[in-house]
């Protein structure tokens, strides 16, 4: 099977800034792939390289096995859902959705029928006659999705598609997007800075930092087995333990990470422990978040909210399984 998108040491520099720095990447056909990273990490530039809005300064990009270097965006079988939707304000919703078919010369009746079907797919059947200004943010988002999907692209690119939506809508759209991707079998490439979004939707996640992919793999691997301090901190905010603290726990002198939810108050069997002073304790709904001062490090722990706990300022010992201590590759 050919890969949907392949990058071979692709670089894109803007002056002295290495937006994308020798990235290798392979996205399988039919996969939901997420590019996760903070702003300025190069994930959006990667997306724009796939779309064809940017050309690489070095390396080779291929889409469905064919070299895409020098191919303009309008000749790529790739469509984008833009961050702020980029709907055409001078057209109706139906004409917006039918645009891709119109420029390809599909006749009016056929393209309007296809556009109406695409609108039904995103649950906006019957909205075709409206103007973009008459829709809410969530509806515009769906129109942008329908406008891209109507062209039956090989790869659908989504640039922070849920960024402008409120929390409830965002969660609903996450499930919907994932369902849509499974049903249509189209390769989705999602760019996001929201680790929850990437982990919940994608089959595979690539974490970007400073123009490079620092780790890629299944969401579970990224979350449970971060390879570097950056990934551990960025994805789910792990505790980062210094080499000396790790050594005192496991005897191994290296950087390690520890998830906040790995801790229990119950000592259990063969578990490691950390003792410190409770600096802060905040109720978060399902969990209570504890900040524990251990020597000169602050450790965060998420404990079940119902558990009785000593007061702030007093001492507490927390326990965790030895395998929860995740070794990092950073030089000690």
């Amino acid at each position: 099977m050919t890969a949907a998108v392949t990058f071979r040491s692709v670089s894109r520099h803007f002056g002295a800034v290495k937006a994308v720095d020798s990235v290798d990447l392979e996205i399988a056909e039919g996969e939901f792939f997420a590019m996760l990273g903070p702003s300025g990490s190069g994930k959006t530039t990667c997306l724009r390289l796939i779309a064809g809005f940017e050309q690489p300064d070095g390396g080779e990009i291929s889409i469905l096995g064919q070299s895409a270097n020098g191919v303009p965006p309008w000749k790529r079988h790739v469509n984008t859902v833009f961050q702020d939707y980029a709907l055409f304000p001078h057209m109706t919703i139906l004409d917006n959705v039918a645009y891709g078919l119109m420029v390809r010369g599909v006749d009016k009746a056929a393209r309007h029928r296809a556009a109406e079907e695409a609108l039904e797919l995103v649950k906006l059947g019957g909205y075709g006659a409206r103007r973009t200004g008459q829709l809410s943010g969530g509806q515009r988002q769906r129109v942008a999705l329908a406008r891209a999907l109507v062209n039956k692209p090989s790869v659908l690119l989504l640039d922070e598609p849920l960024g402008a939506l409120d929390l409830k809508l965002r969660e609903a759209m996450q499930e919907e997007l994932k369902g849509l991707q499974k049903r249509l079998g189209i390769t989705f490439v999602l760019v996001t800075h929201d680790q929850g979004e990437a982990l919940s939707m994608a089959d595979r996640v690539a974490v970007f930092n400073e123009g490079r992919i620092v780790q890629s793999g299944a969401p579970e691997d990224i979350y449970n087995r971060p390879k570097t301090r950056f990934v551990a901190d960025f994805v789910g905010s792990s505790n980062i333990l210094s080499p000396s603290l790790s050594e005192s726990l496991s005897g191994d002198r290296r950087w390690t990470s520890l998830r906040p939810e790995a801790f229990t108050v119950d000592p259990g069997n063969g578990r490691l422990s950390l003792t410190g002073t409770i600096e802060a304790s905040s109720f978060m709904g399902a969990v209570r978040r504890i900040a524990l001062k251990v020597a000169d490090t602050t450790i965060h722990a998420n404990l079940p909210a119902g558990e009785p706990l000593p007061a702030e300022g007093t001492s507490l010992t927390l326990h965790f399984a030895p395998e929860a201590l995740n070794p990092l590759e950073d030089a000690a």
Binding site: A51, F82, A86, F88, G100, V103
Partner: protein, 315 residues
């Protein structure tokens, strides 16, 4: 802190401060005071003189006594529609339309470059380049063009040098657009009009293009629309208000101008020149007034159409 905070400013109540406080409390009074002078100016001097002009056009002129007859009549308008006078109107409107179309075609790429690509220093250079001609004297520019377009001018010289003199001569031998040299042909008038009014077309188009988000262009590319289709279906419709706004300037300025066709071009009159000669040497104020009503009426229809295009949103 030892000083207690007083609820009001403790500065002494001078007359000025009491006045400003009173005006702050009644913003309508302030607005009225500010607007009274310009409203008087606009209402009396500007609209009033226009009304007087309109009234004049309903009087008639007695050719024998060379006096204006102060009786309401439509005979002056009948005279306006006589073949000789109607030709002047047709000539002027055609010229204004051609100048507008040519300006739009020339201005679009310049405005597009300025809106999409020019940054920092180049943007300043663009504004300077477009505005600078507006700051120098109109007459100086026209006389400069007379030299450029004359038989001994740089255009003839360049055409000869490129062995294209025959092409220029062939063009000048054509009826209507031709003449003895470019400076005494309708083509010359057209060229100078386009040169003089071009900035008024560039600036509104540039303003409207600035407002087209660049991701709409990318969205069109992404959906398979190449540059040509993107221009036709996205860029041009969104820039149309700017083109319409610019055309208001080029069209109306050409309709009313009487200096350019007087200096460069044939002896055939334009509306502005007709007004000038009728009210000056002939003393035929009613006909001059009727002539000047023509651009007003044409522009009223033009603005009505432009408003429907959304041109005023781009000003």
């Amino acid at each position: 802190m030892t000083a207690s905070v007083s609820p009001t400013n403790s500065a002494p109540d001078s007359l000025a401060s009491r006045l400003s406080a009173a005006l702050w409390r009644s913003p309508r009074l302030l607005l009225l005071l500010l607007l009274a002078p310009p409203l008087l100016w606009l209402g009396v001097v500007y609209v009033g003189s226009l009304a007087a002009l309109l009234a004049q056009s309903f009087f008639s002129f007695d050719d024998f006594t060379a006096q204006v007859t102060y009786e309401l009549t439509l005979s002056t308008y009948a005279e306006l529609l006589s073949p000789a006078n109607f030709d002047i109107i047709k000539r002027t409107v055609t010229m204004a339309a051609l100048v507008t179309i040519a300006s739009a075609i020339l201005a679009f790429p310049i405005a597009y470059y300025a809106a999409r690509y020019a940054k920092g220093r180049w943007k300043a250079f663009f504004y300077l380049g477009v505005m600078l001609p507006l700051w120098s004297s109109y007459l100086v520019k026209i006389y400069a063009w007379k030299m450029i377009l004359s038989k001994e001018g740089i255009i003839s010289w360049a055409a000869d040098g490129l062995h294209l003199g025959w092409l220029l001569d062939a063009w000048l031998s054509l009826p209507v657009v031709g003449g003895n040299s470019l400076s005494v042909s309708a083509t010359g008038t057209f060229l100078v009009f386009v040169y003089i009014w071009l900035p008024y077309m560039i600036l509104p188009i540039q303003a409207s293009l600035e407002r087209v988000p660049s991701n709409l262009i990318e969205a069109s590319y992404d959906l398979g629309g190449g540059p040509g289709k993107t221009f036709r279906h996205v860029l041009l419709p969104l820039a149309m208000p700017g083109v319409a706004a610019g055309s208001i300037f080029t069209f109306s300025l050409t309709l009313g101008d009487y200096i350019i066709p007087g200096i460069i071009g044939t002896s055939r009159l334009f509306i502005g020149q007709a007004v000038y000669t009728q009210q000056g040497t002939a003393g035929n104020i009613p006909l001059a007034a009727a002539f000047s009503v023509v651009p007003v009426v044409i522009m009223a229809f033009y603005l009505w159409g432009a408003k429907k295009q959304g041109a005023f949103d781009a000003l």
